[in-house]
Symmetry: C2
Subunit: 287 residues, 2 copies
């Protein structure tokens, strides 16, 4: 496998990594200070800042937007709710277009409240994406389905493997791909094959990294900094790169008790150091 030497300029900062306490402006300033190549805002940060001001901040800083988080959440109990969801996804597409985002990340949604029919929820996801695809294509916004870890199948996303996401993408044709997040897919016995499938189809739109802690104390907000957990991130990033990925490596860490309590400097300084350590690990494991 070809060597991969990640530097800060290959990274993007997902704003969720800084937690709710920090503003988009602080995130942008941090990215510039630590030499990150891009940023990936959540929509709450756009609302907080105002879309125009957010675009200005990010453009002036010369940052790429590796993705906008997020659209999706398609399954719902009623037609009315589904119409509202579609309208919200249109707005997300508009925002992604305004930002020049390289994709709109879709967290597709789980089971509607009180329901247990996962197959039906999955069909609703397919219908939901079908319903926004023309709008997204017209806006030149790529949709990146993010398969979430199976532990979120009930409440957040019923697309849980890359194979499942890619089968959907391939049914849709142009403009729909995947966001491969190490946290969600690292366990998958079919991971290398599916990353290559995504690459071959030009559907590898985004790559997210963080680490899986052992033990994990909370299903949502106990993700680890790269190097603190058990994911072989060096191998993961090399496989993604080998599959033809040319985008940024987006760092997304939900960490209520940990990184969300720290300063921007501490978090971004640690990310930069850990990326160097990943490269060093590669030197040691050369094969």
């Amino acid at each position: 496998m070809k060597p991969l030497l990640l530097e800060s300029r290959h990274l993007s900062l997902n704003t969720a990594t800084l937690g709710p306490r920090h503003s988009l402006q602080q995130a942008v300033e941090g990215c510039v200070k630590y030499g990150f190549g891009g940023i990936a805002p959540w929509r709450d940060k756009l609302t907080e800042t105002g879309l125009k001001q957010a675009c200005r901040l990010i453009n002036d800083a010369g940052l790429r937007v590796s993705g906008l988080c997020r659209g999706g959440m398609f399954p719902a109990g009623t037609k009315r709710e589904r119409a509202d969801i579609r309208a919200d996804n249109y707005r997300a597409i508009d925002e992604a277009a305004a930002l020049g985002a390289e994709c709109l990340v879709l967290v597709v949604g789980g089971l509607p409240p009180g329901q247990k029919d996962l197959a039906s929820a999955r069909r609703q996801v397919e219908d939901g994406i079908a319903g926004i695809l023309d709008y997204a294509r017209a806006a030149r916004v790529r949709l990146a389905i993010e398969p979430l870890h199976p532990m979120y199948a009930g409440d957040r996303a019923c697309i849980n493997t890359l194979a499942q996401a890619l089968a959907l993408c391939e049914g849709f044709g142009e403009g729909v791909g995947v966001a491969a997040d190490a946290y969600h897919v690292w366990w998958d016995p079919d991971l290398p094959a599916q990353l290559h499938r995504a690459g071959r189809g030009q559907r590898l739109y985004a790559c997210h990294i963080c680490d899986w802690l052992v033990p994990t104390r909370h299903l949502l907000t106990d993700r680890g900094m790269m190097g603190d957990g058990v994911i072989d991130l060096n191998e993961f990033c090399r496989t993604v790169d080998g599959a033809g990925y040319s985008g940024l490596y987006e760092v997304e860490i939900f960490s209520d008790g940990g990184w969300w309590q720290k300063s921007v400097d501490e978090t971004l300084g640690t990310i930069s150091a850990r990326i160097k350590a990943l490269n060093a690990a590669e030197d040691n494991n050369e094969h």
Copy 2:
């Protein structure tokens, strides 16, 4: 799909459902009182009671042993540790044989401490099973690989889907099958196909049920009573039955803050009532 009307006699009680406070004798008495067809002890309960006494209690009660929990935990950092693990698996096989257990459930183990190579851990699992298979066949003990939910890939089991488990089984031939636990596999988009694959190959050795709570507050000990979560257990049990499964439906609920605090009567009475409710749900959903 053919109708499935579960009664208490189709159930087995996994002793983990009663939590650590209750003895094997209390579990056996509960099974008899509520008309369960079988029991599935964990090995700690055998140690506590003594193997001979445990066999006597269970036989005298006329209960089947749907499985012994558990063997496995194969990956390790050193040759010495792997030898100890093999010896312990031999003991587990002896115990399963003494009990006349319908299978020995294998929780295969995750990454050895400090390691990140999941592919290597998976090869160790394969080697580990290969190393005990002749012994198990000689003892006429069937080995049931239990794929665990992907959230346990790091620390408890690196076999995480039925497809992965069945590929292993098929490589081994006779005497190795799977334990399909609704909690671990309910999210799998390929679930029906894999259950049928297991059935066709005569490899569906055990079926475990409980429910997935939303939200789930702890990765290990926040499983739900059937009906309290989002798994379509009626559909799951019907598919298992339709795949040719003829064993008991084993109830295994890890619930530190909930069911483990309750009396045997409350837990087994609730299980019996919920099984009836599952049947009723089926009547309503007839299609």
